[in-house]
Symmetry: C2
Subunit: 352 residues, 2 copies
Amino acid sequence: MSQYWSDLVHTLQPYVPGEQPRHVELTKLNTNENPYPPSPRVRAVLDDAAVDALRLYPDPDSGALKAALAARAGLAPENVFIGNGSDDVLALAFMAFFKQPEPLRFPDLTYGFYPVYCKLFGIASRIVPLNAAFEVDPADYAAESGPIVLPNPNAPTGRALPLEQLERLLAANRERVVLIDEAYVDFGAESAVALLAEHPQLLVVQTFSKSRSLAGLRVGFAYGSAELIAGLERVKDSFNSYPLDRLAQAGALAALEDEDYFRDCIARVMATREWTVAELTRRGFAVLPSQTNFVLARVPNGRARALFEQLREVGVLVRYFDRPRLHEHLRISIGTDAEMRRLIEEIDRLLD
Amino acid sequence: MSQYWSDLVHTLQPYVPGEQPRHVELTKLNTNENPYPPSPRVRAVLDDAAVDALRLYPDPDSGALKAALAARAGLAPENVFIGNGSDDVLALAFMAFFKQPEPLRFPDLTYGFYPVYCKLFGIASRIVPLNAAFEVDPADYAAESGPIVLPNPNAPTGRALPLEQLERLLAANRERVVLIDEAYVDFGAESAVALLAEHPQLLVVQTFSKSRSLAGLRVGFAYGSAELIAGLERVKDSFNSYPLDRLAQAGALAALEDEDYFRDCIARVMATREWTVAELTRRGFAVLPSQTNFVLARVPNGRARALFEQLREVGVLVRYFDRPRLHEHLRISIGTDAEMRRLIEEIDRLLD
């Protein structure tokens, strides 16, 4: 509390960032980072010329990156929005499209920032529970007309809706924006980008943080109709006009252009995921089918908290959610083969 | 206009970014960028390890950079706030400290974003005209008790208040935050950091964009009392929790540590500035004393717009403000010696 603060500041709760340990000896399977480095092309593009050019302001529009993203999706630059990580894109989308009388709908188990943004921006919400198999059922979103935000695949469940079910959901919701958050889509799910031509209410948000191994660079983006992108640009230019810095623009573009590396990297993560699912299942974990770079697994006998703490003691970090429907599960990011072997070895030791 | 937009979006005006030409043959003296590249240490720190680490999220607190900034100013990390460029820091400070009943005071001729932020955040303001010599007079800020934002040196005038006058202003304004925006302070003015110990209401904002040649990296920061910094952190974590990316943190830290290069670089800019002032003065321009990397010069016969347009035609970009008190002036960024020679040659040709 301070006499200098606006009233606003007094009403805000200080935020405590998630655990980001700095000890390299840890096996870090708790924040869904990619275990592999970004494309070598990212290194190559950060050359003398790029560093010398840092004396100049960046392109406020991230024009080259925007054009490349548009081309990759068969869209025009006016269908692409770029932000400082997909959290930035999401926050701007909440302001641009969800701040309105009808409540925003999203699942009970989903990305934790959605309720946070609703609270911050004063957006009404209605929680739609996942079914017993932790799946989104499009029928649950058919009755009302408010906007929708839905990760596909969902987090922390890892489950994805196939395209025809997404299409059902969109066909029943044409009046307000439907935001599909595809942070994890590259690890085996189908992108809703294919549905953009038929659905001007659809906004598809993606990120370079997961499948492109660039969490440290903060680059996210959205695909949508020109009118949705124009709405986002208006809010961005008014509340947060900070462009991507030059190295972020250059690095993201280089990563985007290296399709072979991208394919290889996600194939490796998916192969390691399937190995991990098999090993966990063999040990009595109930693992949800995942199309992401993490798995949600019910711990044998439901003793998730105990296992979480024991793993942590030996330096293996996974994610535990102390909340209904999830407190018997652990969310485990897919690391390298060596990291996952270590996880399984520690589990064998601890659950012995 | 769109049925999908929030009411909010309809009320916002699309923003048109300033001219950022991409043709290298231009002589670009219109955006106050540094003509010299950043410290070679920035290049050195963007190595294989830094690029590999991009797969991991950045430190949300920019801890290493914060510690280095604190040490340089003889302060503690809790006295330092870091943002995505000083515009980000300013926007958060406006929300944290200026959104309150008493109007915010600032000069009639000053940084153009202040009135923009007031409008966006619904902040009442009162304009305090500069005196006839384009100087801030602390006496003009003594009568009321609202908060103040003041660049020192001021832009676009280039004039700076000496420390004892800043102290007078602070002594008369202890109830609300006084924000001193020191974007250009390193080019010859005195920093208000020396006054922080006595003034918990003082917030000093600086940037890596000008004197550190890192406009392309988007790094700004503020020094202040722990209670002001805590207020900024609260707003940032709530509305815009985007951390600096890893390369921005590493690059800024490397630049900060290269004190010799920094000193050399600003000495060169200041020497070129003095040469430019002398040459312009000799040609009948009335040049305000500048402690920045630009000069504000009244064009002979006041024909600033015509000269601006003529210079532009030959590829020399300077800044013209079509507004009262400034429409007979040009703001000219200080480039390399060669760039300033070209400017003078073109002026000689055009005003012949």
